[in-house]
Symmetry: C2
Subunit: 330 residues, 2 copies
Amino acid sequence: MDSTFRRTGNIHLQDLIDGLLSGNRAFLSKAITLVESKRSDDKKLSAELIDQILKPTNKSFRIGITGVPGVGKSTFIEAFGKMLTAIGKKVAVLSVDPSSNRTKGSILGDKTRMDELSKDPNAFIRPSASGSSLGGVAHNTREAILLCEAAGFDVIIIETVGVGQSETLVKDMVDYFLLLMLAGGGDELQGIKRGIMEMADHILINKADRDNLKAAKRAREDYKNAVHLFPPNEAAWEVPVGLCSAIEKTGVKETWGEIEKFLSQTKSNGWFDENRKRQALKWFHERIQARLEDHFYSKPEIKQEIKKREELISSQKLSVRKAVDELFKD
Amino acid sequence: MDSTFRRTGNIHLQDLIDGLLSGNRAFLSKAITLVESKRSDDKKLSAELIDQILKPTNKSFRIGITGVPGVGKSTFIEAFGKMLTAIGKKVAVLSVDPSSNRTKGSILGDKTRMDELSKDPNAFIRPSASGSSLGGVAHNTREAILLCEAAGFDVIIIETVGVGQSETLVKDMVDYFLLLMLAGGGDELQGIKRGIMEMADHILINKADRDNLKAAKRAREDYKNAVHLFPPNEAAWEVPVGLCSAIEKTGVKETWGEIEKFLSQTKSNGWFDENRKRQALKWFHERIQARLEDHFYSKPEIKQEIKKREELISSQKLSVRKAVDELFKD
């Protein structure tokens, strides 16, 4: 049967592709749901879909935004997104949520948290992909990015929480990584994982308003000094430390100004393309690895064999060498 | 044939084990060489060796030391090691050198750089393990640590260069990670990789002597402020920022004092054992992964199949999904 006549849920694949390429958000949603599906017939369709929309346009810009819960991510993304649609950009917001695998469900990408933006015809908000592993979630998010780009979105925002391993995954799929912080430097930082600060292309101190402004300005100086002690990043980019108030809508335009500077600098020094290429190849080898592991760990009885050995290794009764040898001898 | 009569090069396995357990350095060297061997008969002997010396003693302490070339690592390790042997400790120095796979050979663990320590009967210095990959080097170093511990060494120092991916590997095999820095904060830092500063359990500014002392003191204050901005580490340990002069031998004892504080704190709050257990389990799964990849990537023709697809992915002519599907369909 010709692929154009295969059905994806209620619609034909070709209709889905046409709808997606026309920028229709409902079709975009359907397409993302399709590529997230674990059903084997959906997987075949997804491969065709992804392959047909893969056009090297590279006109989009991918921004990762992280920060602990309470830092004001959704308020910031709403203000930032509205500012972008006002200057004619189409904005998609995706998220990688390390907690979405657990029972408590997704805490990110909730449309109700971005009320105005979700009603904007030039914005698209999608809650965190599900997946049996964080790697699976990351893979689904990467494909969702491609679909958003095919649908004509210019700025893709990937939101995550700075508490797990999700930042490294997000860093690997974006062009720019923005860290939202609060003034105080003490308790508020407890939740941020070590290493994230040095990953950031931009540190933005949110809630720099009212009684908080003075503390925020002091924090900005502190972070500026700290950033100077960091080794230079690969993009040869000097990490800006800014202030903003998502509520008072200050600092939002300035943030975009810095990002545009980054874009023009890294497009001309070649880092932008180089980084995208590296990310794609890393993704490729990660998927090879994931496929190998899926195959191995899904073998019957292997879980029990591994668990038994984990206990012996933990109590120093078995060496890693012997444990692995035992698992791989037939 | 009974295992005690199998020959390892010139000696019997049981003799090797006895010599190793008696603390003989020549036997320790032979044992490390054996476990690094890629010959399949040596691998069998190694498995027996490792299994027989695996006694849960946990009396040793593993310290990772990193810093860019020129920071004075070997001079520091010599002064630090001599101080430790003077207070009755047995000290082993191993190294993980990201460059040792390339033609230029090992730049670390060179005995001539640690002249006094190499002559000390209570010290053992071993150049970087060889290996076809950094993961392989790390694996060999982990087994060398076990052998050094079986031979009665109390403090195992793992030296590495803060320029590659080797620090994460070393961080995963030590109890304590010490970063050597220089005053200046500018050019000298160019080589240190981002993220390493936040990995450190201790920042030590070396060459804090003579004309350099004032700048070193200023750098200490800067780093202290920066460290306060970092999120707390998992060990609940407040990272000390110290000064030392390996040449004038100042700050060396104080460094050990801080390490003893860390030891007593993390042994009582449970972090020490928890961390070792986690490291061992991570090692186990890394080896499973390595074995899966070795098997896959060593298949004939697979290299070419991968290279072809890498080029298509780079030029956005092939999706990652399809590339992986193609590789895994029979």
